[in-house]
Amino acid sequence: MSPLALVVLAPLAAAAGIPVLRRAPAMLALLGAGAGLIASLVLLAGASAGLHAALILPGLPDMPLRLVGTPLTALLSTLVAVVGALVLIYAVGYMKQDDEKVRFFATMSFFIAAMQTLVLAGDWILLLAAWELIGLSSYLLIGFWYRRPDVASAATRAFLYTRTADLGLYAAVFLLIATTGSSEIAVTLHSGAGASVAVGLLLLAAAMGKSAQTPLHDWLQRAMAGPTPVSALLHSATLVAAGAILLIRTAPLLPPDALLAIGIVGGITTVVTGLIALAERDLKRLLAASTSSQYGLMLVAVGAGVPKAALLLLIAHAAIKSSLFLGAGVFQHSRHSTRLADLHGAGRDRPWIFAGFTLAALALAGIPPLSGFFAKDAVIAASLASSNARLLAPLALAGTLLTGAYMARALRILWQGKRRDQPVAGLRWMGAGLAGLVILAIGLGAAFPFIETLLATPVPEPALARLLGLSAALGGLALGWFIPGRRLLGPLLPWARQGFAIAGGVDVWIVRPALTLARGCERLERGLYAGVMAVGRLGLGLGRAVRRSDDQGIDGLIFSLVRGTVNLGNRARTLQSGLIHRELAISVVATALIFAVLFVTLLAF
């Protein structure tokens, strides 16, 4: 079997097999993920050797479905497989005491399969399909603990936000297929015609939904209602990454105006969600806001015209953010809470976990020689080299500064406070998964030269970018460590705590009008129904009136005629008495009358 098919089929088989067998779900999921990982590595090796794998599947008439193994897709597939496998290893420990393991591991495997389909998709239809399927998987996983209050609404919100934005992808895909006449992504990319600004903006809308960019960032923080491994996967290599991956893949198509729009959205997001992270009172929600902020930086790089820089940050961020979430999950189990107020000193409970968490945090801030440093560097260099440097570079630097600040704030809270030693079940599995990811978060930078040669595009890194990036990161860390977030934000604090919602946010601007319209339709519906019923009643009324007129009118007439005739007959009978003299007299009178009438008529003419 071709490795291309195996990458998707292995986790998919696990997802299908687990609910059927209902035994050893964790091991089956690991088996599927492991087989998929090996297939991904084979694919990557092939791609770096210049092999171009492709698989054509039956789809719609004249529009077959394709999976392709280009260097970029193979690289992303490997990323998904690695992070997926490590998060699953962690989840074996994390879910040890949950009694719905079957459902959890089946859905996780399905999630990985869907994401693999997305990154390997060679045509727009399969991409769109996978795009929506990862939305479904996240709905199911965010809603995993569906009996808890607010979980249903969090899952619903995540699916609806992303689906609304997905309309952009639908429209963009239709436009791209219509202009090139082919559903193949490669054909679209190499048609040379480029895409219109409209297509660019539609793709941006889709990416904003999935990558939780301002003003659509709110769902991601609420999505914390799911189990922690879900958050780790969701924020690093899967759902949220899809938006950035879409833009990275289509960047060569996009006209400058669309790129500028992407850069601006990314820049605003990185600052706004960075501030939200500073104000957060919950560790997982802080990390979620940070995710939006980092994806904002990636969009800045895409907007600056260097999508490869965004790719490097995407890869580094995948390892870093999943490490951070996995660490947070351990703290959550040890303190039974994710509120920062309950987590004071939680780092001291588990120094090894805290060490991993700290390394990942420093990597995210961009401290050398950790992976995040090289990636951040590339992004800042891209923003400086862009023709819109004046706009993008300050935003990128502000984002970097804020990253340092909120990570330092989290570290301080976790470290300062009393130690409380509570046993945590399944720590060994959790530690193993976390260790693997932290090693990646530290060392991935070493792999960047390989990636650059693989994709045949070196990323420029001027010394100025290094200097600015490093000072922003260090400055941010210092600010965050020494000054409380509350004080840093000053008057912005209350607004940041509401997630910078503009006049009530999406609920007020979209949900309420939709519901009002729905109620309007319902009223119209009742009106129409009443109208039909009124017509029906009118018909019945008419029928009754006809019947009444029949009863009293025509029937009455006929009955009165009958009565009259009968009466007449009765009268006539009295005349026929049988007395001859009397009948003779009547005859004479009658004859006289007839003669009189005849005589009068004769006279008259």
Binding site: P58, G59, L60, P61, D62, I125, L128, A129, A130, E132, L133, L136, Y139, G143, Y146, R147, R148, P149, V151, A152, S153, A155, T156, F159, L160, R163, T164, L167, Y170, A171, F174, L175, I177, A178, A514, L515, L517, A518, R519, G520, C521, E522, E525, L528, Y529, V532, G536
Partner: protein, 489 residues
């Protein structure tokens, strides 16, 4: 060659006669005859499927003289548009008989009526003679009336009468149009193949015939604002009746729209296509928003039917407007596949709502909560069917809607606004799932039994097919595309 179309068509009628002959038969035997006959019918429909269709015109045509003096004959046959619908009909009826095996109230009459309805439905899709079509079309109406009036819920008499009068009045214009087409054809004939090959009417006569047909089919589809009978009928109809009504009978309207309106008065249809498109778009969006406001689960599903059938109308109108034959085929492929998908998905949803009502005796969503815990199979089946209904890729509606929307963008980009419907349906289904199945289980609903063997047997084929059509639509689309690719009008 075995006349397999006629066999498929009259097998259910034979079953009905058998039950009428054995009037004293016990209830179990009656249901067994119903299930057995419809299973044979399905087998025979599968046989039809295996014989396939021709690239041009109709395949498997069977013909017997009936009234030669007026040019009416018994003519049946299929093409890529009707064959999938015949298969869908045979399948849905079999599942309905399995589901209805619990009916204890006048079971003889029930099974006879359903079998009569099955013959009428298959006849509507296979008839190639306009008179025959009209006869089957009307018989189905009468059987459904008795179905609702005899086995429905509380307000059934009123709903049945409304349904009957609405659709009876609705179908009269079709009779006029058929007479018009008959008088326009030379020599006079009721042969639909002749009418399709050489549209008999032109100019104002064709337009009048089209308007008459559109009225009939718009009631049946149903299209806003002629849809008001639908929620009323669904609310009162028994679950099995709802499945047949939504899964099969709504397709009469959409099928007629293509077969009669589009193919027999093509010039006039093209002329009026923009107006038809507007009606389709408004209907789809209106259905979605009206569904969003519902609190009764069954009414909600009923209104999403208005939404989904609106997409079918959009697809047909776009096909009429398209100049490029490839885009025209794309739009029609989408419209026909949408009919099949809607039959599967809405059929599944109405069955599930019926199963829920059998247990809880209510359909008010706000009264439920947390049912997923106690009824996992029913709950997950509903989740799957609901996600199919909101157009999730990998499930039945996605390929159809994708094709319709893609064709729409290429022909009339403004009409792509209809795509907003998929977000609204997503919202309303997620809300319904949240209210009914998620959350903490309520004490009131503890101990409700999950699906039993009979219900599982009903649901599994539908769920498998929903996934099957969604993942690999090619096996249905190839048949549809054989015909649509060469369709000229």
């Amino acid at each position: 060659m075995l006349p397999i179309v006629s066999i498929t068509l009259f097998l259910p009628l034979l079953g009905a006669l058998l039950i009428m002959a054995a009037r004293k038969a016990p209830v179990r035997v009656v249901h067994a005859i119903g299930i057995g006959t419809s299973a044979l019918t399905l087998a025979s429909a599968v046989w039809m499927w295996s014989r396939g269709v021709l690239p041009v015109g109709f395949a498997q045509v069977e013909q017997i003289d009936w009234m030669p003096t007026i040019g009416a004959a018994y003519r049946v046959g299929v093409d890529g548009i009707s064959l999938p619908l015949v298969l869908l009909t045979a399948l849905l009826f079999l599942l309905t008989f399995i589901f209805s095996a619990k009916v204890r109230e006048r079971p003889h009459a029930y099974v006879v009526l359903m079998l009569l309805l099955e013959t009428a439905s298959i006849g509507t899709f296979t008839a190639l003679d306009a008179l025959l079509f009209y006869v089957f079309f009307e018989i189905s109406l009468v059987s459904m009336y008795f179905m609702i009036a005899g086995w429905g819920h509380e307000g059934r008499q009123r709903a049945a009468l409304m349904f009957f009068l609405y659709t009876l009045l609705g179908s009269l214009p079709l009779l006029l149009a058929i007479l018009g087409l008959y008088l326009g054809s030379n020599p006079h004939t009721f042969d639909m193949r002749v009418w399709i090959a050489h549209p008999p009417l032109t100019g104002i006569a064709a337009m009048l015939a089209l308007v008459a047909m559109l009225f009939t089919f718009a009631v049946k589809i149903p299209l806003f604002p002629l849809h008001t009978w639908l929620p009323a009928a669904h609310v009162e109809a028994p679950a099995a009746g709802s499945v047949i009504l939504a899964g099969v009978m709504l397709k009469f309207g959409a099928y007629g729209l293509i077969r009669f309106a589009l193919q027999m008065t093509p010039e006039a249809f093209r002329y009026a296509a923009v107006i038809i498109l507007i009606f389709g778009v408004v209907s789809a969006l209106y259905g979605a928003f009206a569904a969003l406001a519902q609190t009764d689960l069954k009414r909600l599903v009923a209104y999403t039917s208005v939404n989904h059938m609106g997409y079918v109308v959009v697809g047909v109108a776009i096909a009429a407007l398209a100049i490029d034959p490839a885009v025209r085929a794309l739009a029609l492929d989408g419209a026909v596949l949408q009919m099949v998908s809607h039959g599967l998905v809405t059929g599944a949803l109405f069955f599930l709502v019926g199963m829920l009502q059998d247990r809880a005796h209510t359909r008010e969503m706000a009264r439920f909560g947390g049912l997923l815990k106690g009824l996992p199979i029913l709950g997950w089946s509903f989740v799957l069917a609901a996600f199919a209904s909101l157009g999730l890729p990998g499930l039945a509606h996605f390929p159809a809607e994708f094709e319709i929307f893609l064709a729409t963008l290429r022909v009339e980009p403004v009409a792509l606004i209809v795509i907003l419907g998929i977000v609204v349906t997503a919202g309303l289904y997620l809300r319904a799932i949240g209210q009914v199945f998620l959350g903490e289980p309520r004490a009131q609903w503890k101990g409700l039994p999950d699906l039993n063997a009979r219900e599982l047997l009903t649901m599994i084929p539908l769920l498998v097919l929903i996934v099957g059509v969604g993942v690999a639509p090619a096996w249905v689309l190839d048949v549809i595309h054989t015909t649509t690719a060469t369709l000229h009008f």
